[in-house]
Every structure is written in C-alpha cells, then in structure tokens.
C-alpha cells in the first residue's frame, strides 16, 4: 500500500489506470442516463418527477463518500506524513463540494413539486448544507497559509473534526422526524425501491463513482507534476 503511494510509483500506476476509469465513466453514465430516462418506469406517487432521483441520490452518496475519502487521506497524512495522502485530500475537496452542491440543487428542484417547498430546515437538509460549508471551509483553510504544509495540516484537522457530520447525515432521518423520507436502499429488510428503478440507480451510482476516481486521479497527477515543475525551476534558478 505504502509502496504504491510513493509519488513516482503513483504516477506510473495512475497513468495506466486513468484511461480505463474514463472509459468506465462514459459507459456507465451513458447507459445509466438512458435507463433512467427511457427504461425506468414512473413512480406510482411521484410520476415522472421521480427521475430526479437518478441524479440526486448518486450525488448525495458521493457527497459523503468523497468526504470519507478526504478524511481518511487527511488522517494518513497527519499520522504517517505521507505527501500523496495530502494531495489526495486537497484534490478531493472541490470534487466533493461539487457533488454536494449538485445534491442540494437537485433536491431543491425535487422538493418543490413533491413536498411543496424548495427548502426546509429539517435535520437531513441542514446537515447536508453543513457538509457543503465544511468542504468550502476546508478549501479556504488549506489555501490560507503561505507555507503549503501548514495549510495541509490545519485542513487535515478540520477534515477529521467534520467526520462527525457523516453519521449525522446518514441517520438524521432515523433519529429525528424529518420531511425527508427515510433510507430506501441501505436499510434492514432490503431496499424499498422496485428492482426496475433500483438497477438504473445503481448503474448511475457506479458511474458517479467512476467519474470521481477519474477526476481525482487526473487532479492528483497534475498536482504532482506541478510540484515537480516547481522543483525543477528552483534548481535552475539556483544553478544560474
């Protein structure tokens, strides 16, 4: 694991993996979107509006998953001082913020026709909004220091403190009564979504995950290359 995370080795294997991730993203999102729009049936209660689910649910899942990736990378960076872990955390944050924003916007567009409100301050919606602010706070904090390593350390601590929000988001619909409905997929007693709707949804979730991995590898590779470029320039200046 640690050997794979050596910067040079990371560049090697990520370069080989990247095109496959990109291909998987295109296929999964293409098939998923087609199935969500044309194959999946309308819902008995919500009619065609239920199709918002195929964007809303994957982006909601990714918003918390990316945060978990960021927090684990931050912990590895804090404890083992690994440079690639720092880069992984830093480069995940804007992607996670994007997924969270997508989740909030699609949820709002779905809430108006179904619930009758763009926004309500219930526990699920509020904790998801807090997650969005955590991402923004992390991005601001990491970039607030002249010395990148100090920014990374402060950001890592913030990312770890924010982990407490993940179980709150997940269980908010069980612990308190909310306007948002309870969990439909990962629940005791199995999913409460008809299989004809669950399959397109799972393909979309995998597509979103592949999209995230593709973008993260791309961003980490460019960050590593930029660091190398800076080092070479510094050497040239010193030599001159």
């Amino acid at each position: 694991m640690l050997r794979l995370a050596n910067p040079n080795r990371f560049m090697q294997w990520s370069g080989k993996l990247l095109p496959w991730c990109a291909i998987a993203t295109v296929i999964l999102l293409g098939v998923g979107t087609y199935m969500a729009l044309f194959v999946a049936p309308p819902d008995y209660q919500q009619g065609e509006s239920v199709r918002i689910m195929y964007i809303h649910v994957p982006s909601a899942m990714m918003s918390t998953f990316v945060y978990a990736v960021m927090a684990v990378s931050s912990a590895v960076a804090l404890i083992w001082r690994h440079p690639v872990a720092d880069i992984a955390a830093r480069e995940s944050a804007p992607l996670g913020a994007g997924f969270t924003l997508l989740c909030l916007v699609t949820g709002s567009l779905w809430g108006k026709p179904m619930w009758g409100a763009w926004w309500v301050w219930d526990a699920r919606l509020t904790s998801e909004l807090v997650l969005f602010f955590l991402y923004l706070g992390y991005i601001a904090l990491v970039n607030a220091f002249d010395e990148p390593t100090r920014g990374a350390r402060a950001g890592a601590i913030l990312a770890l403190v924010g982990v407490i929000n993940l179980p709150i988001i997940k269980f908010s619909v069980d612990w308190w009564n909310t306007l948002h409905q309870p969990e439909s997929i990962f629940r005791l007693g199995g999913p409460t979504i008809a299989p004809s709707m669950l399959w397109p949804l799972l393909i979309m979730v995998l597509g979103f995950a592949a999209f995230f991995v593709t973008l993260l590898l791309l961003r980490m590779r460019s960050a590593l290359m930029a660091a190398k470029l800076r080092a070479i320039r510094l050497q040239q200046i010193e030599a001159a």
């Binding site: 049936p41 309308p42 819902d43 008995y44 209660q45 919500q46 239920v50 689910m53 912990a75 804090l78 404890i79 083992w80 026709p113 179904m114 619930w115 009758g116 409100a117 309500v120 301050w121 219930d122 526990a123 770890l160 403190v161 982990v163 407490i164 709150i168 612990w175 308190w176 009564n177 909310t178 306007l179 409905q181 309870p182 969990e183 439909s184 629940r187 409460t192 979504i193 008809a194 004809s196 709707m197």
Partner: protein
C-alpha cells in the same frame, strides 16, 4: 515508529472525544431537532394557542372538506391515536390527498390548527404504478405513511 504511534493515538482519541461530545449535545437537543410534532405530542404537551409549530401525520380518511368560500380547506391530521383539525387557505402540493403524509406549519387557535403552509411528505417506497395496481388487485396493498 513511536512518534507515528503517538500521532495515531492522538487522532483516534480526539475523534472518540468529539463523538462523545456530539452525542451528548445532540441528545440534549433531541426535542428541538424534530421537524414536526405529531397530534399526540400536541395533546400531551399542551401547546399554547398562537405559537408557531409544525404538525405532521396522515390526512385522515374522509376528513377533507372544502368550505363554501371555495378557498378554505378543512381536514384532520391523524397519527393513529390522536387527531388535530386543520384549516388551511392556499394551494396544496400535488401529493396532498387523504391517507397521505403531510406536515402543516401554523398556529393553534381554540383546538383548530390554522395552517399557513401545507407540505406533503412521501415515504421511502418507490415502485411503478402497475406494481401498485397488481398489489391492490391481489389484496396485498397497505397504505403506508410517515412514522410518528
């Protein structure tokens, strides 16, 4: 090695402390974090007239009546044991119907809840209309609603 160990324990210990602190805070604020009260809560807590609250439950069967002015809608919200009569002037969401979960915002006035907004709450079940028809035909259909 020992320094890495030490940092690992600091991180784990910090997270554990944070978890305990958050759990304590959340359980202390348990009552304030609910989005709506059930009709039973309203009866049990003796909510005074004029305070802004939200009431949630199912729209009771055969309780929806439009008043003669054509705008005001009267219905009762039920949680299975208690009901609250609601009076509302305005548009209701598409999902509003008898047996559906709703959350109404407003104030109590002499036992009647004067709603300013009515929101629909749907459950976690998603299925195509044909499946529902089949379930209804075979007699396996159960109306479900939000948990009180």
């Amino acid at each position: 090695m020992t320094r890495k160990r030490k940092r690992l324990y600091i991180v784990l210990g910090g997270l554990a402390l944070l978890g305990v602190a958050t759990a304590l805070v959340l359980s202390a604020f348990q009552d304030n974090l609910v989005f709506f009260y059930s009709p039973s809560d309203i009866t049990a807590k003796n909510v005074p007239d004029g305070r802004s609250i939200r009431v949630g439950g199912l729209v009771e069967k055969n309780s929806v009546k439009r008043e003669s002015d054509g705008v005001t809608l009267d219905f009762r919200i039920s949680d299975g044991s208690q009901t609250v009569p609601v009076s509302y002037r305005g548009d209701v969401p598409d999902l509003f119907r008898e047996g559906q979960g709703v959350v109404a915002e407003g104030k109590l006035n002499k036992g009647t809840f004067i709603a300013s907004t009515v929101l629909a709450k749907h459950d976690e079940n998603y299925m195509p209309p044909e499946v529902v028809d089949a379930l209804k035909r075979s007699g396996h259909w159960q109306e479900t609603g939000p948990k009180p």
